[in-house]
């Protein structure tokens, strides 16, 4: 019985890690290319969840089927944020704290406009298939979480090949390595950055569509994801792709193990404590290349 419980806790840890990986990878990519923290990544997830909620209740479709609409929409939102809010700061050569303040402003704007439009009620969409479980003794696999986990693994693999092989991926990596040299090679930095931000936001959109059947959405539902993602990318080393995946696994396991055996609040306190310790003792992350 005890060993079965432990096995189930480990499975849950992996499944939770899958959820966090989806959000953290997008955040990490934006930072890796632009050296800008997208503090509003969680708010993009929140917007995407509302979008998916709207479409799925309006047309009575499964939230998973709203993805083809949500993802391009979020891509556009990301490009917009980059064009109108981040790029002007870079152009004016404003110091990093202006970025932080702009992003906090953006969080306020997104959260409270969501509140004006959708009120602070908790909303969700019931998808029977997402809440049923497959039983492979001795463990239970809730289908909704399994879908999230498998999608984040496939997205991670896709991203890996995108950066390794695709031309745009190579361009992004080049910009990442040396902006000036990239300009001399004829790369249009503005477009690369807009594309990267859009891609990061699109990943938030994927997360939103997949998470809607599992989580309630309200205007403040996104911010916890931002915080968790920051912890994850700091653990893994900022901009480090493999590190972000490992960081998600660590945090997922901590939440599952401590959450099951002690209490969920202590689990988040433990996660934050690990974060602060890593920040102080090894700020470059645990998985430095």
């Amino acid at each position: 019985m005890q060993s079965e419980l432990i096995l189930q806790v480990v499975v849950n840890g992996f499944l939770t890690a899958g959820v966090y990986m989806l959000v953290a990878v997008g955040l990490n990519m934006i930072y890796g290319v632009m050296r800008v923290f997208n503090y509003a990544q969680g708010e993009l997830v929140m917007l995407g969840m509302y979008g998916a909620y709207w479409i799925s209740t309006l047309f009575n479709v499964n939230p998973y089927l709203t993805l083809p609409a949500i993802v391009p929409l979020l891509f556009m939102v990301g490009v917009g944020i980059q064009r109108f809010m981040v790029a002007p700061l870079v152009k004016r050569r404003l110091p990093p704290e202006s970025h932080v303040l702009t992003m906090i402003g953006l969080i306020f704007v997104l959260q409270y406009s969501a509140m004006l439009v959708w009120t602070s009620d908790y909303r969700n969409v019931v998808v029977p298939i997402a809440t049923t479980s497959i039983s492979i003794p001795p463990c239970q696999f809730p289908i909704g979480r399994l879908i999230v986990f498998l999608s984040s693994v496939s997205i991670a693999v896709l991203m890996f090949f995108f950066f390794k092989c695709a031309k745009m991926g190579k361009i992004i990596r080049a910009t990442c390595q040396d902006r000036e040299a990239a300009v001399y090679m004829g790369i249009n930095i503005d477009r690369v950055e807009a594309f990267t931000f859009g891609l990061g936001a699109a990943l938030a959109g994927v997360a939103a569509g997949l998470l809607l059947p599992l989580y309630y959405v309200n205007p403040f539902a996104g911010f916890p994801f931002t915080i968790i993602s920051f912890i994850i990318v700091t653990l893994g080393g900022l901009g480090n792709f493999i590190g972000a995946i490992m960081g998600s696994l660590i945090i997922g396991m901590v939440e599952s193990v401590v959450g099951t055996f002690i209490s969920p609040e202590i689990a988040s306190a433990v996660a934050f404590t690990i974060f602060v310790l890593v920040l102080i003792l090894k700020p470059s992350g645990l998985f430095e290349e």
Binding site: L101, I104, G105, F108, V109, S120, A269, F272, I280
Partner: protein
Amino acid sequence: MPFPRNLLILTILAAVIPILPLPSYFFHILIMLLLFSYLSTAWTIVSGYAKQISLGHSSFVGLGAYVSTLLLIYFGVTPWFGAVAAIAVSLAVAVLIGFPAFKFGVRGPYFSFATMALAAILESIFISARKITGGSLGISIPYKESWAYFQFSSKIPYYYIALLTWFLAVTLAFSIERNWFGYYLMAIREDEDAAEAVGINVTRSKLIALLLSVGLTAWGGVFYAQYNLYIDPATLFGLPLSFQIATTSTIGNPKRWIGPTIGALVLVPFSEILRVVTGATFGSLSFLLYGALLIIVARFLPNGLHGLMTEKAKQ
């Protein structure tokens, strides 16, 4: 060191306001105005002068409020002594996080995250200690009107206490600005490595600035608890409060002693009026405009509204 005469005149004017027969709601707004000016001035000492941007100052508002309230409820300790304990606990926590952070060079956005994480850790600890703190439902402080319990039936005593502490905080900020210590902090703000190179003890200066700021902030928490007579983890430790403190100072001018007060003078009445006019739930519209204002200030006014005013005055 010329003391700003305008500040003295302003304070004396503010001190005679209660002679006028004004409704108590008016004093509520004035108290909130003074409290936010005070908290943001405290924030400015470490985050404006030394540019160690804390996005978790609610940690210390919360600690201040909870320590004094728990002492009052369980041991009957008067909040005046409770405040001393509250400040001591907050300073201890600040050293615990600040010393290693500054010593090992946790800078810029990393420092902001660390402070955010601190607030989140404290919030979850105070929620999970349900048996003592009442969890997310919070604590109501039983009403006993007396000086000893720091509770008054009228708003006027609260107003004078808020005015006095605000005056002291602003005076402190002013004297730091005109003092060697302030110059150290400004050197750190402009370039930490260069400051280190010319012989400034960067770690120590940042830590002292943090402790001054935290001590003042903890008192703000004690005052809030006694004024409101109800505290809960989400309001006191939550990010909105930290953001609001940072925003108020930034919109004013985070680099000058009077900046935070200017920010509060604009923002507090603005959100109150908006709340009355629109009656929107939780003042969502006012926070929305806060956000928009912050974006505009961050992009166009690096020295806040105060910077704008002084530029206009020069022209």
